[in-house]
């Protein structure tokens, strides 16, 4: 089995999509925030919160979709906190974001441990199962790749379309794009800059939390400390790779997932011949290269990182 064989195998693509799922949620979330002009470095912590809260809710007896909802709400809460600090208060988005990551992570860990002081192996829930599509699942290639994924992966794919639709086909999305480019343009049309930004950051953060929830409710069935493992940060890079477009966000996440899946497969074959880390590094290096290539044309939301206050010029 060589690289070509891997690339042609269904299971590789299925794995890529699976690995990409939390990233899809995360990039879409980051995209929403940044489109509105707010960088959200709280993403890593919001992933943790989503992973913990979603899982905990299910463990306490809520249904799986109940857990998803709880995760989204928890993400929205921390997103709202970030939004309040950075939008009306206009604090540094970098610092507030890092603060939110630290806060969200430690709140999650502390509450998990306080709620479950005496576990020696992590309690498990019954996670999302691959959806059963009677006929479609037997299709040659797509059967495996697409139709044996869990509901959350489908939700992620749906969200790509939904976010694209909202951003490009609804007045709300246009307003979010406008507020990230020139807040005065929406103020002058009678819309509230604060409301749009706070709303976008809150909604984006709840999407990020779903990325975390996927980890504990679909990719796995228990919560572990440190299991988010940098996935949130990756999204911050991917959103630039994606030039803030949902379709390219999906592409970027899939590419990253594919690299990871390829890495695992190559490592199992080559063993220690090539240090596995070379493959682990590849997606990050690729992201930088993509960024350098795209930088010239990258149309940053012009108001990104710039707070706006009424009546100030």
């Amino acid at each position: 089995m060589d690289i070509l064989n891997i690339l042609l195998s269904e299971s590789f693509w299925a794995a890529s999509l699976r690995i990409a799922t939390p990233l899809i949620f995360g990039v879409l979330g980051a995209l929403l925030c940044e489109r509105a002009g707010v960088l959200n470095l709280g993403i890593e912590g919001i992933f943790v919160v989503g992973a913990m809260c979603g899982w905990l809710a299910v463990w306490l007896g809520a249904g799986l979709w109940g857990g998803v909802l709880v995760a989204a709400l928890a993400g929205a809460f921390f997103g709202l906190l970030h939004a309040i600090l950075t939008v009306p208060l206009g604090l540094s988005q970098h610092v507030s974001g890092l603060g939110i990551t630290l806060f969200a992570t430690s709140v999650s860990y502390f509450s998990y441990r306080t709620a479950l002081p005496n576990v020696s192996s992590p309690p498990r829930i019954e996670p999302f199962q691959p959806l059963d599509f009677p006929v479609l699942a037997d299709l040659p290639f797509f059967g495996t790749v697409l139709f044996q994924q869990t509901a959350l992966t489908w939700l992620a794919l749906f969200m790509v379309v939904a976010v694209w639709y909202v951003m490009n086909r609804t007045a709300l999305g246009i307003a979010i794009q406008a507020v990230g480019d020139n807040p005065d343009s929406v103020e002058a049309q009678g819309l509230s800059v604060f409301a749009l930004r706070i709303g976008a950051v809150t909604a984006g953060s709840s999407l990020m939390a779903l990325g975390g929830a996927f980890l504990t409710m679909s990719a796995f069935d228990a919560f572990f400390f440190g299991m988010v493992n940098g996935r949130g940060w990756v999204c911050i890079a991917l959103v630039i790779f994606a030039s803030w477009r949902p379709g390219k966000a999906l592409l970027g996440a899939l590419l990253f997932g594919a690299f990871d899946a390829l890495q695992v497969r190559l490592q199992t074959q080559m063993g220690a011949a090539v240090p596995g880390q070379v493959f682990l590094m590849a997606p990050y290096i690729l992201s930088i290269v993509a960024l350098v290539i795209a930088a010239r044309s990258a149309d940053y939301p012009r108001a990104l990182l710039t707070p706006w206050f009424k009546g100030q010029r």
Binding site: V119, A219, F225, N229, R265, Q267
Partner: protein
């Protein structure tokens, strides 16, 4: 007599397999009323030494932990507190008068679990997912591989390390990749591997802890680690006032009850069970020695 005050310092949360075994043994001793037990988990490497000293200053009698990343510093601390007993997971030796070491020497049951795996594979490919390629992991993998080769000289291994102690989704992906490459038995060194096995309907072999309850019908056998023998011995020595620097490693051997094999007899053919029992008895009697090999295992090609 005064209860022995024991403090434990873990570099990872107590859910981690390895640590959970120490934690469990200490909790048991605490429940019996032998010790007062406190612990700190997830202590960063930089902070470890401070925590050791704090516990020492607070008058702990016995400090238990794992010093793999900070062998020197830990010995320095022990040297500064000669009246405190230290029992530390370590790859190196003890230091007089008060620094003892232990390690998860369960290569024996690992060998036995390998025998089960070797006999069970149809594809003759076994997948192994590890955390980091450190001696503690490598040694068990090699023992397992040796056991598998005994029952099935044809067997090939695929090995992968995920470079994390804690990333079940990643371990799961790694396991899937191995199954795609033909593995039909998985050696589950990390959380996540057994889940992949369940999803694909293949069998798995457990390590350190017994998870057969969580994955009924999937875990054929597990090599278990029991820290009770080690902890109880050390606590008793401290209580008696004759704690000495020693290598407690042997208390993880099967003969001391520190390691054991558990089998799901409904999943393992009777003749294999018999063969394994036979080896097990030989090990207990000291008639069979399992080789120790700390090198990083690599996939067969």
């Amino acid at each position: 007599a005064e209860k022995v005050k024991v403090a434990a310092i873990y570099t990872l949360p107590v859910e981690q397999q390895w640590i959970s075994r120490i934690h469990k043994a200490l909790n048991a001793a605490s429940d019996r009323g032998d010790i007062d037990y406190t612990f700190s988990e997830n202590v960063a490497n930089t902070d470890y030494e401070r925590v050791m000293r704090e516990y020492a200053e607070q008058g702990s009698h016995l400090i238990v932990g794992e010093v793999f990343g900070l062998e020197r510093a830990a010995r320095k601390v022990a040297n500064d507190y000669p009246n405190t007993a230290f029992l530390m997971g370590s790859s190196f030796g003890p230091v007089a008068p008060n620094f003892s070491v232990f390690d998860n020497w369960i290569h024996e049951p690992s060998y036995l679990s390998g025998m089960v795996a070797g006999a069970a594979t149809n594809s003759n490919v076994i997948g192994m997912v590890g955390g980091y390629a450190i001696p503690e992991v490598n040694r068990l993998m090699h023992a397992f591989m040796a056991g598998a080769l005994e029952t099935n000289p044809e067997v090939k291994f695929i090995v992968n390390f995920i470079d994390s102690w804690y990333d079940p989704p990643k371990a799961k992906e790694s396991a899937f990749a191995m199954m795609d490459a033909g593995a039909d038995i998985m050696y589950a060194e990390r959380f996540g591997v057994s889940d992949a096995a369940v999803e694909r309907g293949v069998k798995a072999i457990g390590n350190v802890i017994d998870t057969s309850g969580d994955y009924p019908g999937t875990i054929m056998a597990s090599a278990l680690w029991h820290m009770e023998a080690t902890i109880d011995k050390a606590v008793a020595n401290v209580a008696k006032g004759n704690f000495e620097a020693a290598d407690y490693g042997q208390y993880s051997f099967m003969a001391y009850g520190g390691g054991s094999l558990v089998l799901d007899e409904s999943l393992v053919p009777a003749e294999v069970v018999a063969k394994v029992k036979e080896r097990e008895a030989e090990i207990m009697d000291g008639l069979f020695r399992v080789n120790v090999n700390d090198e990083r295992p690599v996939s067969d090609n």
